[in-house]
Symmetry: C2
Subunit: 208 residues, 2 copies
DNA sequence: ATCTGTGAACCGGTTCACAGCC
DNA sequence: GGCTGTGAACCGGTTCACAGAT
């Protein structure tokens, strides 16, 4: 399969969300135009995005809501459960551990790690904070798929190196630091500082 | 000034971070190549980004670290303090309220709001959760610039409409819901569900 | 000699427009 | 007639390559 742009994948997630809403409302079929209106894109964009993966619609008719949902879930890899673990049981890690939204899409948070002796052993939601030294063996034993990194910036890269070495191939980092990973690993970074500075820039340059 | 791509602004933030590191290390001058190496871009990209705002370097020499830092801070609007407020004192709102990283870049969190009577009046870091009904008047009175939205998805759009109507022009949302704002308002959205689904997609399509 | 600043070429994602099917 | 699927045109961000300054 040829390379797919990240923006496309993001839109597919969005479409899926709308399809689920539509399904709940009992609609059986939907057109690219209707999907586009919900998501703030164009019908051509929707059709192009979908066409990258196959032909899911019927000309003159539109898309079957349930079929397209199923297809999108398949494309996005949501047909299974992913084992997620959190590294860092500070404020952000704790908030992540107790975040409800993960479960309903098949992302199951099954472990939280920290180095601080004071934090290890403490309950967090329905988990208990584990010692970071156990992380590597747990990754193999529990088949951990996705790492959520919520640690101070200076700890980020060494920890990434450790989880990558232990076989993890997907990381979502909240650490405000640039991180490097080998090509077979996918890293996404949420950096609040950057987001705020983009807002600051926009406020200052309001005289667009 | 012509329109600047968001990716450019994000890189400027990155450059600024590196410049501060360099400054701390006592370097007086830096080349586009050195900046690029740190940030994982190319020297041409660095020069192009900067050239959009003026000529900051000296040919044959490079850029003055302190001058360029100052210029970037100016461009990004970091020469002043921004008043930030948080809407929603749940898990995520609480983590945001206690996040240290904001202050050091001039983003000052000065109020937290919620609707839940049980949460109103409770301390959060060195703030006290305020009643959401006071939000509009506070926005004017306290000159609140930036809203951080940490509320359930169904509450997001109505609250955005309220803060926009009260004069806020910059919003960072953590709510997993699509939000619409008028053109004079800048909205950034951090959506954990999308990030995870992009990772899921990457894991499933590892046969790149 | 070195490194910046920038027009030109390039590339990839988005939009257009229309042929094809229901 | 309505809506999909898709090659072609378009557009804007990135990369190239070189002229210009120190």
């Amino acid at each position: 399969m040829k390379h797919i742009a990240e923006s496309t994948v993001r839109r597919l997630s969005l479409y899926l969300r709308f399809l689920e809403d539509f399904e709940a409302q009992g609609h059986a079929t939907i057109s690219s135009g209707e999907l586009a209106a919900q998501g703030g894109t164009t019908s051509a964009q929707v059709r192009k995005d979908l066409s990258l993966f196959g032909s899911f619609g019927k000309r003159g008719l539109g898309y079957s809501v349930s079929d397209l949902s199923r297809s999108l879930r398949g494309i996005l890899g949501l047909g299974r459960e992913w084992n997620v673990f959190i590294v860092g049981a500070g404020k952000i890690g704790a908030a992540l551990a107790q975040f409800r939204g993960f479960r309903q899409r098949g992302f199951k948070v099954i472990a939280v790690y920290d180095v601080e002796p004071a934090r290890i052993g403490r309950p967090l939601g329905d988990l208990v904070v584990r010692d970071q030294t156990e992380m590597e063996s747990d990754i193999a034993r529990l088949r951990l798929d996705i790492a959520l990194l919520a640690v101070p910036p200076e700890a980020a890269q060494p920890l990434v190196d450790r989880v990558v070495k232990a076989g993890v191939r997907a990381i979502l980092s909240f650490a405000p630091a640039p991180i490097h990973v080998p090509p077979h690993v996918t890293l996404r970074s949420v950096n609040m500082a950057f987001e705020l500075e983009i807002l600051s820039y926009a406020l200052v340059h309001a005289d667009k």
